[in-house]
């Protein structure tokens, strides 16, 4: 079974890093993963999109996804083209209050105030990891420990000081969505 995720937001929210972290975590678990990134020259505020595909066999999915099972929507700006490709019924993690849950009527929506959660664990820069932690709590695509290890592996030496805060953000994101009905284990594997 292949699972596709589209991540959409604006430059500066950690879109690319969270997508890369998930793809690397799956790869380190011995699974097949593909990551396609799409962003402009802007460091902050411009469109930033990524897609991740994970599977247990060589992947059939295209680098430009024809459709996707799930989404992380970090910002409503620029999100329309990505959201138009979602298959109904799959999980979507929304960054509240920036994203209106009504914008995804056909999806199984989970909202998390990523900025507030990140602040609460003194990791204000890590909202991307909050969203990723929440996403993985819902989908169980990878072991949470694999996410932490992948995050640490991806940090360059001059950013190592953020590892602990990032790990707190991943855990806090997962805890924020520890709600009844959030277990999609059956459909995620």
């Amino acid at each position: 079974m292949e699972r596709e995720l589209v991540v959409t937001g604006v430059g500066g929210q950690g879109i690319q890093l969270l997508a890369k972290t998930l793809a690397l975590a799956a790869t380190r678990e011995g699974r097949h993963a593909m990551l396609s990134a799409d962003y402009g020259g802007e460091m902050r505020g411009g469109p930033s999109k990524a897609s991740v595909v994970i599977g247990d066999r060589p992947l059939r999915a295209l680098p430009v996804l024809a459709s996707a099972w799930s989404a992380i929507v970090a910002h409503h700006r620029f999100s329309e083209p990505a959201l138009a490709r979602l298959r109904p019924g799959g999980p979507a993690i929304l960054n509240l209050p920036l994203v209106d849950p009504a914008s995804l009527p056909a999806m199984t929506v989970y909202g998390v105030d990523a900025a507030a959660v990140a602040k609460s664990v003194e990791a204000p820069q890590a909202i991307g990891f909050v969203l990723l932690g929440a996403y993985n709590a819902v989908t169980r695509l990878v072991d949470p420990a694999s996410l932490v290890a992948a995050m640490q592996e991806l940090l360059p030496p001059y950013r190592r000081q953020h590892a602990a805060a990032n790990a707190r953000a991943l855990a806090a994101g997962a805890a924020a969505l520890d709600v009844p009905g959030a277990d999609l284990t059956e459909v995620s594997r």
Binding site: K20, A23, T27, G30, H32, A33, L62, V64, A66
Partner: protein, 359 residues
């Protein structure tokens, strides 16, 4: 087999080094720049040399020099830069110097450039067009093998999707069989009076060893390329046995077409696909056989219709051939436009299916 999550450019560089490439020179131009960056990082660690040349012309000529000395060598750019390299590629084809040219193209508009020979003289360039990163890893090593096997430059035709997609791949040396010794190489071992070697497009030799001269030499070169044409074409196809419609595409576009064709078959359409893996030699006989019993041959490529010419030449009935591709570039000018997308391709194929075909 452990998979590593590598960006395409990173995997291609690693595969080139695994193939024994020890010299690389090029000039940055997106989306080739990623390959140059990765070679500059990885090649020195393998004992090789990577140079950021002052221009594409210098890069290709440095590569020609390294290859003439016997090294496995490569250069690259995107189609715009490879246009500048044509003189050296023609010289290498005619003086039999093997190296690999990576065209990390921005789109599919370089088909003519790759397959027709852009310089002077009677030559072609073997051109490999992988459909995705895992196949690109294999094709990189095959390209070096074919270059050495035939003493000729070989083009690897990539694109932005191959350069920039990250995917789990395993890069290890691949064995494509034995190769002739490089006893022609200008490696300093043939010195002494009368013992020097020549790599010369005109093959006029020297006073003590006149050489065949241009007439005999170029006839031999032409025969060599005819022989390559006869033995090195590669292709893939599926569902030809019951297909009423065959879609022909190359490179990344072929992967998209394959995806769409499988969907259309699931909807009950009798449709198949055909992919030239080598653009030159073009797999003409295989295409002729695959199109013998179909009503429609649809050609999808992201240009104004270049491979279309080869399909028309080789299809069993050229009146069955329809073009469903087109020019499609991102606003940046550096990547594919909206045509490289499964839903768009599906719509184009569906429209063609509704328009009839030969009876």
């Amino acid at each position: 087999m452990t998979l590593e999550l590598l960006e395409g450019s990173e995997a291609i560089a690693a595969s080139a080094i695994a193939a024994g490439c020890r010299f690389f020179a090029g000039y940055p131009m997106s989306p080739f720049t990623g390959l140059l960056e990765n070679m500059s990082r990885q090649l020195p660690l393998a004992g090789g040399v990577c140079l950021n040349a002052e221009s594409e012309i210098e890069g290709v000529n440095m590569t020609l020099g390294a290859a003439a000395a016997g090294a496995r060598a490569a250069t690259g750019s995107c189609g715009q830069g490879i246009a500048l390299m044509q003189e050296a590629i023609a010289e290498a084809a005619l003086n039999e110097t093997p190296f690999v040219v990576f065209n990390m193209a921005r789109n599919q508009q370089d088909y003519f450039q790759a397959t027709r020979g852009g310089g002077w003289g009677d030559y072609r360039t073997i051109t490999l067009a992988p459909k995705d990163v895992p196949e690109a890893v294999e094709h990189v090593q095959l390209a070096f093998h074919l270059a050495d096997k035939h003493r000729a430059p070989v083009i690897f035709y990539g694109d932005p999707l191959l350069a920039q997609t990250r995917i789990g791949v395993s890069v290890r040396p691949l064995d494509f069989g034995p190769l002739p010794p490089k006893d022609w190489a200008l490696d300093g071992t043939g010195g002494g009076t009368g013992g020097s070697r020549q790599v010369w497009t005109w093959a006029m030799g020297k006073a003590t060893d006149p050489g065949p001269g241009p007439d005999r030499h170029w006839r031999a070169i032409a025969e060599k390329f005819a022989a390559i044409d006869a033995i090195e074409s590669r292709s893939e196809q599926a569902h030809v046995e019951d297909a009423e419609t065959l879609v022909v595409a190359f490179g990344s576009a072929a992967k998209f077409v394959e995806y769409v064709v499988e969907e259309l078959r699931a909807d009950g359409h009798r449709i198949g696909w055909f992919r030239p893996v080598t653009l030159w030699p073009f797999p003409g006989e295989a295409l002729a056989a695959a199109t013998a019993d179909v009503r429609r041959v649809l050609v999808f490529e992201l240009n104004a219709g270049q491979m279309l010419d080869d399909v028309r030449i080789h299809a069993a009935d050229r009146s069955a051939v329809r073009f469903i591709g087109g020019v499609s570039i991102a606003e940046s000018g550096l990547a594919y436009g909206e045509l490289m997308d499964a839903p768009v391709i599906r719509d184009r194929i569906r429209t063609a299916l509704s328009e009839g075909g030969r009876s």
